[in-house]
């Protein structure tokens, strides 16, 4: 077990190193923060001076080594636009993004599992068809569009909920709903197919033969087994939610990492882009690791390959 964990952790570190090179290069290939900080008619000397001040005139490999050395010391550089430590700016936004992603996930898991179980129990009957139909539609709706519609209906039309920003629980509802749509769809579908399989198995027949009520059969016996693949999916969904949050945060002006990163990309604020990408990818890599570990823990039958 220890060797397995060690190997997986090492792999994760290699992945992160690769990501850091990629992010570094991609951010620099398409533009330059100085061109975006200064108006178009700024004289050439002003631009050149700023580029030198920021050390952006050094060759890319030199810049990368500088970046890596300080990053290993926990210094991700200073935001070019905000002149504040980039890592701190990203960390300050992390709670907002975590709050949004986890709420969406909890919402998605709850609704998704309920829908999935209902569909599986009434397999091929109208509730099943309804769930399948609704999730197909849900899957094809872009999150930003759903977000705008939700904001227009609940925020503008009815005036029940805030349209944007982050002020208390009420402002969390709409972004979490629109971001939660994706996990509802995937979790309900997976729960459904997994439950359909499980409900056909021998131990379920035995449970029914014992004379247990159907709800006990479904919830106590079948669901517990049927949920196993869903746990894996939950972890993977969290990664997808983090990337989905980029758009949702933009629509609802939610002060999270995604919005910070989009802003930083548009302004070529390299240090923030790098810090955000690394924090994000570290998180996703860590979740994948965790899911694997939790999985082996939840089901002792799964042995380490």
């Amino acid at each position: 077990m220890r060797r397995y964990v060690l190997r997986r952790v090492l792999q994760a570190v290699v992945v992160l190193a690769g990501i850091s090179v990629l992010i570094f290069a991609v951010a620099r290939l398409s533009g330059n923060p100085v061109d975006l900080m200064l108006p178009m008619d700024a004289p050439r000397e002003t631009r050149v001076r700023l580029i030198q001040e920021m050390g952006l005139d050094a060759p890319l490999p030199v810049q990368y080594v500088r970046f890596l050395t300080s990053a290993l010391h926990g210094d991700f550089g200073t935001s070019i636009r905000f002149r504040q430590p980039a890592f701190r700016l990203v960390l300050e936004r992390a709670p907002a993004t975590a709050e949004l992603a986890l709420t969406s996930l909890a919402f998605g898991a709850l609704i998704g599992v309920v829908l999935g179980v209902v569909a599986a129990v009434r397999y091929r009957a109208w509730p099943d068809n309804l769930v399948l139909g609704a999730t197909s539609v849900g899957q094809s709706l872009p999150a930003f569009w759903v977000g705008i519609l939700l904001a227009l209906f609940f925020g503008v039309q009815l005036g029940w909920l805030p349209v944007s920003g982050r002020e208390g629980f009420s402002s969390l509802i709409l972004p979490a709903l629109s971001l939660g749509l994706l996990p509802v769809v995937s979790i309900s579908r997976l729960t459904r197919s997994s439950m359909v399989d499980v409900l056909r198995q021998d131990f379920v027949r035995t449970a029914r033969a014992k004379g247990l009520v159907e709800s006990a059969v479904v919830y106590r016996h079948a669901l517990r087994n049927g949920l196993l693949p869903v746990v894996t999916l939950l972890g993977l969904q969290l990664g997808a939610l983090l990337s989905g949050a980029v758009i949702t945060e933009q629509v609802f002006a939610w002060p999270g990492i995604g919005r910070l990163a989009v802003d930083a990309i548009q302004n070529r604020d390299y240090p923030i882009v790098q810090a955000a990408a690394l924090v994000g990818s570290t998180f996703i890599v860590a979740i994948n690791l965790l899911v694997d570990f939790v999985y082996t823990w939840l089901d002792p039958r799964i042995r380490l390959a």
């Binding site: 178009m40 004289p43 905000f82 349209v163």
Partner: protein
Amino acid sequence: MTYRFGVFAVVLLMLFAVAAVPAPGAPAVSRAVVLQSSDPTSLDPHNHRETPTGNVNRHLYDPLLFRDPRTPTRFVPILANTWYQITETTFEFTLKPGVRFANGEPFNAEAVKFNLDRVLGRTNEKLPLNAYAFTTVRGAEVVDDLTVRIITKAPDPVLLSRLSTLYMVPPKLTREQGRDGLQKNPAGTGPYILKSFVPNDRLVLEAKPNYHMGKPRIDEVIFRGIAEAATRNAELRAGNADVIVNVPPDSIEEINSSGKAVAKSTPSTRVAIFFLNTLEYPQLKDRRVRQALNHAVDVDSIVKHVMRDYGLRVPTIVAPYFAGFNTTLKPYAYDVDRAKRLLAEAGYPNGFDMEILVPQGRYLLGVEAAQAVAGYLNKVGIRTRLNVVEFGVFARVTQERKIKESMYAAWGNSYFNPLDAYKALVVSGNDAFSWYSNKQVDELWQKAASTGDLRRHADYLRQIEELIYQDPPFIFLFAQKDLYGVSNRLNWEPRQDEIIFMFEAAVK
């Protein structure tokens, strides 16, 4: 296994519970909420060059003089009571007595001198970002506590415009706090002080009751940065915002019919320009070809149908409300036959290839307008290829001088005077946007830039406009209009210089 699932569920629920935070209550004060497209990047007014940042800073700091909102070519006194020109290169300012910065420091002639020293790089700091706007200035001289002279290297006809953008920072505090100090702890003589700033959320300003121009009518001004136009629009219609910027023309109906807000527009200083690379492409060196292109495009129709009248056609690149606008020039007539004839005369009866570079999402309907121009050019045989890029890429390509035959950009002008625009766009040189060279224009520009006589200055500007009209370096288009959404509870009219200053507004 039941136990393990239980733990898992409890952890999830706990994470969920963390999300629930109570909402703060609202105090009973008059307030205005302004939604811009982004947060301010700096609360040091000398260290940024962006409109959204400038708008926030205007509330915290004052300039010596400020553009009259109704007659933008005129100035009204703010920190200076009076000013007059002593010599061709010297202006003397008499300052308003008894003004203090928010930190208690007195505002006086020494403070003015410090501010000029700062943008001229004579303090111990790095040169601030706005320094290049003051390269014509030699320095400031303190005459007495409330009298200061500002001296330029040569006569500078736009000195007052430049000074209207120089917001005064407190010398002592700025020196003590170092380069990024004002960012965290701003202090100016402006009508508001900073109450709180949560980046990506909101910046709250509180009125200064003893402001030297009178107590602000609005107690609290909130700035929020929301990048999505649809979200700003929704907030306005939900009654949570009082001013929103950059309203897309297709949302006007929606705003006006909401019963909560109206769309307001003003002609802006930003002029859309279709640049032609007259230096590197032989076909575009030929004056007849460039005249032909101007005749080939139905600009009136583009203004009406693409811009939905949120544009004002101009004969060249100078708006009618700029200094030196040449009233004798009439826009090029839309005349396809003439365009074809001119092209044939120049030796291009079958047209030529033309790439058009245009940034996405930067200018009001920029891509749509460029598409429309391309469509008209196709009709006279020019084979166009639209290259739509993100603005960061556009900025890089243009700064590296790598454009092909043409590009579309809208040029801002905070001085209401085409002098700097001419320098950047038509005077020979290797600046990013200068794709034209004409000795006569260069000479006239030198004269215009170095005369202290404003009448002669305007006359030189008119002559330059005449020259570029006859020998067009661009396809001439239109001045944009700025579009705002304004809530019904706010009394506010947009300014032509894009500045949003809530001291000029009142809550009904």
